[in-house]
């Protein structure tokens, strides 16, 4: 019999699975339980070693489905941050005193310890809203806004996305844009880059508020390989411009031979830094390129989720991320999901552990360990179950460990005996609860 020409074989089928550039997601509905409202809630605890950062956050994502695959998403996050963060200065074999970011008082750290500032106590609120709907049979459009606020940082953003299906919906091409405008209001004003940390009460080197803009573009392809395998490949581009400094981080100014931080005395009658410190300086623009690949593979009930990301930018940071999760289902809608993640990055071109006195001052320098050379591993496990009423609960415990070092050629004299790079390890604990509402 005649097979017939394929003239009216339509090109593709619809889908509606999305996370919009990593923000709010959409369409989780299982065919059986289609409830108009779905709520995802989670409580997350993040705690670092040695009284460093501790963060407790409450997260809610509400999704409302309307007729014909149109979805409204609303998200809220409340974060409470406490604990100490590295100042950026190098440890010394004597105690050191620093002026607090506000300029109103001073604090000291003991000898041979990583200088940490424990004044950070902050609550952040973030809200997102997103809309998704089909545009014609083969296109899906998304749009969203985001807003967040903490005491020294405000963010406003908008995002747009478009997907188009091909090959009977086996192939999907995604295009996304996100724009952000952030305002930074460092306490007592942003310090002039590379200016010294001054005595208590002296904020003469402070400027006002700052801002930065970020543009993100994503282009991706999702492909169904077979009944059990789905892959995605994305290219993303990100461009930030404006104030990219960490206003509270300083570099130690050290002796070119001994590597010890130069001492100083505060003005008579005041407290102030015991040594010479300079505020960091970063370029006012940063361009990043990433390539991301992900595969989801179904193996007789188990689901393997593996991804790889390569990032390179014009600060000369290169990073590789490998992430793998395997979901093991058990009877009665329970599951266990172990997770492992490996991350490695090379330092920014202007990353410096310290500044050397006598050398010409560089244009850019930052001791921020987050721009340094390190590896990180996350290992964790999640246990999930479903209640009789069809609500999904989960408990997740993860351990995150960062280990890095200062590039050898940067270390001088006594620094070689010291632990110049603050490693980090943290516990992540997460409780999640998902439920639907409505008939």
């Amino acid at each position: 019999m005649e097979k017939g020409n394929k003239k009216f074989v339509a090109k593709s089928l619809a889908t509606a699975t999305c996370a919009l550039l990593g923000t709010t997601g959409t369409n989780p509905v299982h065919a059986q339980e289609e409830q108009p409202w779905q709520f995802d809630t989670a409580l997350l605890y993040y705690g670092e070693n040695d009284d460093r950062v501790q963060d407790l956050s409450l997260n809610v994502l509400a999704r409302r489905s309307f007729a014909d695959d149109r979805i409204l998403s609303l998200g809220l996050t409340v974060d409470s941050l406490t604990g100490a963060t590295p100042v950026g200065a190098a440890p010394m074999d004597v105690a050191q005193t620093f002026t607090r970011p506000s300029g109103n008082s001073a604090f000291s750290v003991p000898a041979n310890t990583q200088p940490l500032d424990d004044t950070f106590l902050d609550t952040r609120y973030a809200v997102t809203a997103g809309w998704q709907q089909p545009l014609g049979r083969l296109f899906t459009g998304t749009a969203g806004v985001s807003f967040s606020d903490e005491y020294d940082y405000t963010h406003i953003g908008a995002n747009f996305g478009l997907t188009r299906d091909f090959n009977k919906r086996n192939t999907t091409v995604n295009l996304g844009f996100a724009f952000a405008q952030d305002d930074i209001e460092p306490i007592s004003g942003s310090p002039t880059p590379l200016s010294p940390m001054l005595d208590v009460g002296d904020i003469s080197n402070r400027r006002g508020t700052e801002s930065k803009d970020v543009v993100d573009v994503l282009l991706g392809v999702t492909q169904v390989i077979n009944q059990n395998l789905l892959v995605q490949l994305n290219y993303s581009f990100s461009d930030s411009s404006g104030y990219l400094n960490d206003p509270y981080r300083v570099l130690s100014l050290v002796d070119p031979v001994s590597g010890d931080t130069l001492a100083r005395t505060p003005a008579p009658g005041t407290e102030g830094p015991s040594h010479e410190f300079r505020f960091e300086s970063r370029p006012d623009s940063r361009t990043k390129h990433s390539l991301f690949a992900q595969a989801k593979y179904y193996m007789a009930g188990k689901v393997l989720d593996v991804s790889y990301r390569y990032m390179t930018d014009d600060w000369e940071i290169d990073s590789h991320t490998i992430d793998a999760k395997l979901k093991f289902p058990f009877a009665n809608n329970r599951y266990l999901e172990p997770h492992i993640r490996y991350y490695t990055q090379t330092e920014a071109e202007f990353y410096r552990a310290t500044l050397t006195a006598g050398d010409p001052l560089p244009l850019y320098a930052s001791p921020d360990y987050r721009l340094g050379n390190f590896d990180a591993i996350t290992a964790g496990i999640k246990y999930g179950w479903r209640t009789d009423s069809g609500h999904d609960l989960g408990l997740r415990l993860e351990y995150y460990m960062q280990d890095g070092d200062v590039p050898g050629n940067q270390l001088i004299g006594n620094q070689l005996q010291r632990d110049m790079y603050p490693g980090l390890n943290a516990i992540i604990f997460n409780f999640s609860y998902r439920f639907g509402l409505g008939h």
């Binding site: 003239k7 007729a67 014909d68």
Partner: protein
Amino acid sequence: MSYSQFKHLIISACLVAFLCSSASASDEPGILDLSDAQGHVVVVDFWASWCVPCRRSIPWLNEMQEKYQDQGLIIIGVNEDTEEAEYVEFLKKFPAHFKMIRDAEGTLAREFDVVAMPTSYIIDRDGNVVTRHLGFKIRLMGDYEAVIRNVLSGSEAGTELVSAARPRQ
């Protein structure tokens, strides 16, 4: 393709489906011999329990079957679930009041060249496929019904309304 060629195609497709479905011992309704359906308007709807829009279409199909039964409408649901258990579970929750055929191997779907889930083909009283609609949209339910009414009354008006409507070549 002529009417008789098409009729033969449908009958052979049904026979193939019959052979496949009778191979698994299940209790779905037997094969529908479409030569009996001459003079009726037949809606063949391909669906599966894991397909959300398909689930939304079942109550509407029930309504159509009941409403236009007397005018000679026959709805045939062709289920594509590979897991029999899921199909049975689903129909317990969302009962269908029209004829059901199991097509677990996808043979019928392939014969009909299904490109979307769900897809409904409308066959007029002379056995010609006059239209199909891809997917199921709540806001188009009125349009879908209008097409059925038109085909029942013998006019072709609106058959291009819903989707690419061309008789199979």
